[in-house]
Symmetry: C5
């Protein structure tokens, strides 16, 4: 999985029928060494009620379809956890 | 998924039989922080009637085959939504 | 999919039994913005009779196994189309 | 697989039901040439009792779900081995 | 697939039960344009009796599990061919 920050939203009315009702969030990855947001990121489907500003974990590829919300849908990135604490090298990089 | 801009087209007459009838579009990703087109990108199959110049979402890998148009076909990138609005940090990066 | 140029060949006699009879081609990707060959690339199995010098599309991952030639084989990149025309921004980047 | 060092931990109480009981570890990859930790990395589920500071192998994508711990779960990176010895060019880069 | 050079070995005694008996090799990719070893690479399972110093092809992702040796195992990179000849632009980059 990737740990990242929810930075935005995407709205799309013209889409595959199986995507109706899904929430699309823009997520930028955190650098593991510094805990800061870095370049890159994806548009992920929310499976856990995440919102803008939260630190989350998302899964990619076929693993992104292993949730009730995303099963058999053309979705390749899914937020499946909201992070409480992220520690690296014994230091807290993030606490909710 | 990746948010990107449809920048071009690919025509290929000599191809796998299962690809007949599919529309191939060149898509370049948007930088999530700036909303600008950046390097990279893919040739994606269109599943939603997208055209050159539009901002879209595409799914990659096995997830790209979870649409009626692409099922069981040798396709690893599929446009499955046309974006209406893309917001980052409370600012509108794109509105159709 | 990735659009690329077939730049070379690989011959391997000692290999998994399911790979016997497959043709391995080296493919370098084209930059979508300029149409020029860029760094990177893969060794792909040919499913459409492609040859060195041609511009092709290849699919990666599990999608690369969705052809008659590659089904159930340990193959993660397959050339499944030979490109006739590639246009970006209304300009022809390549014509066969 | 990727060889990497476990550098941290992630705790997430709000998550997909299938993730309950899994341990999330931050892993940074080793450079194969130098054996040093390099940029990048993932949050991986632990399937072998790994801890912070250890050198491990993790598998990504659908392969990450081929363990008893991770089967059918929305997990795309799993630590499935703890490294004893890592040698490159006849030199020991790491010994437990 | 990726063409690469086997540069090292990994030994891991504490691991998923399904990994017992597999041989782990460190492989660095070759630059397609120059034929030289470049940065990056993976730890791959050997399915063809490859050894350090040899030039090989490896498959990644679910395709890495399509061999007798790796089926249903948490393995995401498998060496499935030993290269005899690698040619780019009509020049031999490597001959065994």
């Amino acid at each position: 999985m990737v740990i990242g920050k929810v930075v935005g939203t995407v709205v799309a009315s013209q889409k595959e029928a199986e995507l109706v009702g899904l929430k699309f969030l823009a997520v930028q990855p955190l650098d593991l060494a510094t805990g800061e947001v870095k370049d890159g990121g994806v548009i992920a489907v929310d499976a856990v009620g995440a919102g803008v500003g939260e630190i989350v974990l998302y899964a990619s590829g076929s693993s992104a379809r292993q949730t009730t919300v995303t099963q058999n849908r053309p979705v390749d990135a899914t937020i499946m956890a909201i992070v409480d604490t992220f520690e690296v090298g014994g230091e807290v990089r993030y606490r909710k």
